[in-house]
């Protein structure tokens, strides 16, 4: 009898929601009931739907249980596994219709996705190479090794794949440059220094399907003629490092890595380098300096890494998601691969949906889908029924798009034209409670802190911009500030040395483009409509709504609220520190921001 398979998500999100405790409870319960031999309990990588973790899927019928806790396990085993009665309260509940949904493909979050790169994530045990092999793993490599190096490059060019790390440079072209570069020694490097706040697709791929990245790197190495490679991965991702390490060991044992791979002349060894916490190391030349053991500072290009990269040798450098696309191209064929996507952006892109959205998580969608579909169909709309205000795309290098840009097809070129960029694919959704000026300040604080200090425009320019933004959010904005910001932004974009500096002004420029009125309100009316900039807001109790429950007064840390029981209270603005505790505690919505 075939054993039924129970998949437990063990991505970082679900682990921190308690999935390992669920696994333990499940194994114990199955043992206790004497049915352990009928089930195969598999810990998988990320399903992407981190919001609903821990996630448990039972195969073959594909029942999707979410937010399962260890104490739910006895009921789940008794009711569902033994008596075949679905435990309704653990099913996903559609936030709009309120209906319980059994099968994960019927959930809005998954229905519009096209999971090609993530096809194994959440389905296989990433620590077991046999599961990868059973799903066509390393077939792409076998196909590629039948071709000549140039044919492999031609195939990648034909697929239309562009770099998924940010700038969207055609991958095949990059490979061709490295192939043509003169050198006795070449390297392949995988950029897994995913530092964009709000992006975690690379980590999920490494955690959920590490062999796909290894296979992609192998094909690249064969094509460009490299025999050594590195994966530069953030040390903040301990689970990804561990699974990648296990995967490399397994690939070595199975002869996919090492000498004379699959009986050919091709040899390749792969090592892991752990980053040490510097955002700028996501920039390719800084990353290479860091592998060499130096301070991670960028250097001017050209020469590009394809000609002079790691230790001065020709180096092919791609991002995790890019490499994870490669096996697909060689399994499906370039033509089939390129059927998905738009004219100039082929394939799929993984987005990390976060912020004030109902369904946070990872979603893989075909290029060309609209932002509205991603946010409202997959993301399930805005949390708490609030109003959509903007979506920030592409991390600190990207920009904010307002409501009227939501019907834009998502691809490299149209996003850039709208003032944002694909970047790594972080999507942070904001509602009316987000202040756009504060958000621009937030991003600039980040890039300013991460500026390596090598070139003046970035080191000094972002600091001056940040000072102006801080002034504006503190209520000390002046006439002329916005023009100065724009002037600085354009100069930094034109003159900074690397991608970090050149894109650092983007969040400011895009918010100025679409939300200029909010900046002007801060400067001229000393008003923050979102109620975020504390110097510009005051809390006020609406007497008609206040029932005098005293909850706010009891929670106020500075005793700024006075009033008799059962009669309206009042806030003393000279004492109030604007911490917002009263606003959060009030059950009658009697406290408002002015």
């Amino acid at each position: 009898m075939e054993r039924r398979r129970i998949l437990l998500c063990a991505g970082t999100g679900c682990i921190s929601s308690g999935s390992l405790g669920v696994k333990e409870a499940l194994l114990k319960e199955l043992e206790k009931r004497g049915i352990a031999d009928q089930y195969e309990v598999v810990t998988s990588g990320c399903h992407g739907f981190c919001e609903q973790g821990p996630i448990v899927i039972v195969h073959p019928e594909d029942i999707f249980y979410c937010r399962v806790q260890a104490e739910d396990v006895p009921e789940l085993v008794e009711e569902y596994l033994l008596n075949n009665r679905v435990v309704e309260r653990l099913l996903y509940k559609d936030p709009v219709s309120g209906e319980h949904i059994k099968n994960h493909l019927e959930i809005g979050f998954y229905a519009k996705q096209l999971r090609r790169v993530l096809r194994n994530c959440g389905v296989i045990d990433p620590e077991n190479i046999n599961e990868y092999l059973a799903r066509g793993g390393y077939e792409g490599l076998k196909n590629a090794l039948q071709l000549s190096q140039l044919e492999v490059i031609e195939e990648v060019k034909k697929s239309g794949l562009r770099g998924r790390g940010g700038a969207g440079f055609p991958t095949g072209l990059k490979w061709e440059f490295t192939y043509k570069a003169q050198g006795d020694k070449k390297y392949v490097v995988c950029n897994a220094d995913e530092g964009d706040p709000g992006a975690f697709m690379d980590r999920s791929v490494l955690e959920g399907d590490p062999h796909a990245v290894i296979e992609g790197m192998l094909i690249a190495a064969y094509a460009v003629g490299a025999d050594e490679g590195y994966v530069y991965v953030r040390a903040e991702y301990p689970l990804a490092v561990k699974r990648l390490r296990l995967a490399i060991e397994a690939a070595n044992r199975h002869g996919f890595l090492g000498k004379n791979i699959l009986g050919t002349d091709f040899s390749f060894q792969l090592k892991i380098k752990e980053g040490a916490g510097a955002f700028v190391c996501g920039e390719e030349t800084a990353l290479l300096a860091s592998i060499e053991g130096e301070r991670g500072m960028p250097r001017p290009r050209p020469p590009f890494p394809a000609n002079a990269g790691l230790w001065g040798k020709p180096t092919c450098l791609n991002n995790v998601e890019t490499f994870a696309n490669i096996p697909l191209i060689f399994r499906l064929g370039a033509e089939e691969y390129a059927k998905v996507g738009t004219e100039r952006s082929k394939g799929t892109k993984i987005f990390a949906l976060t912020g004030k959205i109902n369904n946070t998580g990872l979603a893989e969608v075909p290029m060309g889908i609209t932002m509205r579909e991603i946010i409202f169909d997959i993301g399930g709309g805005i949390k708490g029924g609030k109003k959509f205000k903007a979506v920030q795309i592409g991390g600190p290098s990207g920009g904010c798009l307002p409501e009227e840009k939501l019907d834009l097809p998502v691809d490299y070129d149209s996003l850039t034209a709208a003032g944002a960029m694909m970047g790594s694919g972080g999507l942070v959704v904001m509602d009316e409670e987000t202040c756009m000026v504060d958000l621009a300040r937030f991003f600039l604080t980040f890039t300013q802190k991460e500026s390596c200090g090598k070139c003046t425009p970035c080191r000094e320019g972002t600091k001056r911009m940040l000072e102006i933004l801080e002034r504006i959010t503190q209520g000390n904005g002046e006439d002329g500030d916005l023009e100065m910001l724009e002037d600085l932004a354009v100069t930094i974009k034109d003159t900074a040395l690397c991608g970090l500096g050149q894109t650092a002004p983007n969040p400011v420029l895009s918010t100025l483009r679409y939300f200029r009125d909010e900046y002007e309100e801060h400067i001229y009316e000393k008003k923050c409509r979102a109620g975020v900039c504390t110097n510009l807001v005051s809390y006020y109790i609406v007497p008609e709504k206040c029932v005098g429950c005293t909850l706010c007064a009891r929670n106020c840390p500075v005793n700024a609220i006075s009033g008799e029981r059962k009669s309206p209270h009042e806030i003393d603005p000279s004492v109030c520190i604007k911490c917002g505790v009263c606003y959060e505690k009030c059950k009658f919505n009697a406290i408002i921001l002015k």
């Binding site: 682990i15 921190s16 706040p197 903040e236 060499e292 230790w311 912020g355 991460e450």
Partner: protein, 162 residues
């Protein structure tokens, strides 16, 4: 004075065992300075001056260069740190879901600033750009444990566990 120094020295000699072992492990590896520093920090909890000086002598690279690398990366620390490291995520998703308030609460409850360590060396408070668990925002990590969907009133209970 001299007596004093000697006394200090004999009372608290620096233990070079760990750094010796680390350097041996990375012998002959190209560009291994960062992994070496990571391993030293793993062993001592921070990067002690003595260990860095020893590394400089053994690897024949200037101490200033090692200092330059150690201060460039956020991961490295030149002073002893607490037994439990609290990392508060200040990424975008956490920011829009109230990460700043979580940090504020931690600062108040531990009476610490960011990068500070409690006197009893129990906690060190740090902020990080992104933990990558945005689905659970706002998030903190204490050592290797992640705590998500936080509100300020949950903090005290979490700190109790350590």
């Amino acid at each position: 004075m001299k007596e004093n120094l000697e006394k200090n020295y004999t009372e608290d000699p620096f233990d070079y065992g760990a750094v010796e072992e680390v350097l041996e492990r990375y012998q002959d590896q190209k560009g291994a300075l960062i992994p070496i520093l990571q391993a030293i920090q793993e062993a001592y909890g921070y990067l002690p001056r003595e260990a860095l000086e020893y590394t400089a002598r053994q690897l024949r690279i200037p101490l200033s260069k090692i200092f330059g690398v150690a201060t460039f990366y956020a991961q490295f620390h030149l002073t002893p740190r607490g037994k439990n490291i609290i990392r508060v995520c200040q990424g975008t998703a956490c920011h829009v879901r109230g990460g700043a308030k979580i940090l504020q609460t931690l600062k108040e409850q531990l009476n610490l600033e960011v990068d500070g360590t409690t006197e009893d060396l129990k906690f060190t408070l740090e902020s990080v750009a992104c933990i990558g668990a945005c689905g659970l925002a706002p998030v903190i990590m204490i050592n290797d444990d992640t705590f998500g969907r936080l509100t300020p009133d949950k903090i005290a209970e979490i700190l109790e566990k350590y």
